[in-house]
Amino acid sequence: MEEYREKTLVIDEQKKITFWQTFFRNKAAILAAIIIVIFLLCAIFAPLIAPFPYDEQNLPEMMQAPSANHIFGTDEFGRDIFSRVIYGTRISLQVGFFSVAISVIIGTILGALAGYYGGIVDQIISGFIDIVSSFPVSLLAIAVVASLGRSLVNLIIVISMISWAGYARIIRGQVLTLKEWDFVEAARALGASNLRIIFKHVLPNAIAPIIVMSTLEIPKAIIVESTLSFLGLGVPPPTPSWGSIMSAGRAYIMQAPWITMSPGLAMMAIVFAFNLFGDALRDTLDPRLNKQI
């Protein structure tokens, strides 16, 4: 028994090492990780990094092109775009992380219930999944935010509401196949309750695709947030978010294109990084999945 435990421990250690080794052999993954860390630091230390307060108006210097003083230029109120973009990182990352966390939880629970119990439970949950997936996502989000009101929390709720279905579908499929396996049968024979089987035996085995999908959903959430902000449904001003900066810049795109360009480029960088990171994670965690999506 003792020997056996030691052996599994060694295997676990080896597994861990090979995972990180394989993962960081991928140069793109390292680059992506660096970009993500930089943005995280920007979000956390925004007041220290931003050269100006995000809402400091300076009308004599309005709509200036990028210069040494204002590296991304200034907007129609003379506010420093660079500082606003730095602060905007906070909104984007918060929306990205929290909405993904909430939709993973909802999607996992509903997907596991549907897959495990089958029958009428499955039909109802799958029906919901179908309904949510057949909605034009951005339009549904617009309708919900317009009626709930503009706030960070509402944005997170809306984005979670429209993205849980993807996780639910994956988990349901995984649980459907996993529950036929012998180890689940064995757990049941030992008298484990349904909930224990779901949480202790089935879900841990379905975790890899969920991690990969979450990494790839964060950038999607960031993009949806910016689309909503662009339509005037984001976090209320003066708090800057990338989408609202772009939305304000749209009116001045002729005279001051940098207002629209800068936050877009920042967003591209972080979304690009998350996508690269997710791809690398997928290749490492499950080489088989790589070919499917």
């Binding site: 057949s134 996502v137 339009l139 910016s226 689309t227 662009f230 979304v271 690009f272 999506i293």
Partner: protein
């Protein structure tokens, strides 16, 4: 086949009913009322009540829903509160513009994505593969509206090749279709590449090559035909996205389609218009999915219906 289509159509009914309930509850549970929009702030409580009653908003929610649903069964989507015209007429006026934008974008997207995905898969790990996949990753990393603004800035304002807004001629459609089509192609090309890669590794491809067929025939006749199935599924899945994307483009490029109609109606709290246009869009998306299902069954002889 007719039976299969009928079954699929019947399956749509509960989903459509479900979506009307969801749309209805979201709109009616929200604070704020269309009466505020009609009446303005300085209004006596009696007049307010009268307007509320005339719109039927004083009845319990469930009753309101059944009235809405009963009318719906008779093909009546209600009357727009602001325009005082039947919602169905208004929506049907705007729908062709959105459908045109959506279908042109879908066509454009697939005519780029399918060749790009196939080439990337066939020439795996070569410059062509890296190039198309880098472009694809770049396309995924941009919000559609931002890409639209960039195209607008360069091609409409700077170069003056295309108009900045409107929908009357084909020139008006070039930029919006390019925006939605290219960003969608970025996603689709990746998926085409992976489904081709899956097929290329199969034994029958090795057999086809082994018996001396030309590579182009192997790819087109043997590999692509089999990779077509997941691509058709994809086509169904992307339709919803395309319509959503087109709706946002209608705002960037000031095109009076159904998306623009709906966003305006949401701000004005013109509930009947929002419900009607959302419902019509959902039906369009589901018909698109149905089309994909039918194509799928038709292309794949293994599927029995």
């Amino acid at each position: 086949m007719a039976k299969y289509i009928l079954k699929k159509l019947l399956f749509m009914v509960p989903i459509i009913i479900g979506s009307t309930i969801i749309i209805f509850s979201i709109l009616h549970l929200s604070p704020g009322s269309p009466v505020d929009m009609i009446a303005g702030p300085n209004i006596t409580p009696e007049v307010y009540e009268n307007i509320r009653r005339s719109l039927g908003l004083d009845k319990p929610l469930v009753t309101q829903y059944f009235i809405f649903f009963g009318k719906l069964l008779r093909g009546d989507l209600g009357t727009s509160i602001l325009q005082q015209r039947p919602v169905l007429d208004i929506v049907l006026e705007r729908l062709p513009i959105t459908l045109k934008l959506g279908f042109l974008s879908l066509l454009f997207s697939f005519s780029i994505a399918i060749p790009a995905g196939i080439i990337a898969a066939v020439k795996r790990n070569t410059a062509a593969d890296y190039l198309s996949m880098s472009f694809s990753l770049l396309g995924i990393s941009m919000p559609t509206f931002w890409f639209g603004l960039i195209l607008l800035y360069f091609f409409a304002y700077k170069l003056g090749w295309f108009p900045t807004s409107g929908y009357q001629t084909w020139r008006h459609f070039v930029l919006p279709v390019a925006t939605v089509g290219l960003t969608d192609a970025a996603v689709t090309a990746r998926m085409v590449r992976s489904s081709m890669l899956e097929v290329i590794r199969q034994d029958y491809i090795r057999t086809a090559r082994a018996k001396g067929l030309r590579e182009s025939i192997v790819i087109v006749k043997h590999a692509f035909k089999n990779a077509l199935l997941p691509i058709i599924t994809l086509f169904g899945m992307r339709i919803g996205w395309i319509f959503g994307g087109s709706a946002v483009m209608e705002i960037v490029y000031s095109i009076p389609g159904i998306g623009r109609l709906m966003v305006d109606a949401i701000y004005a709290r013109d509930y009947p218009i929002v419900q009607g246009s959302m419902l019509i869009l959902v039906i369009c998306i589901m018909l698109g999915n149905l089309l994909a299902d039918i194509l799928y069954a038709w292309v794949d002889p293994r599927i029995k219906y």
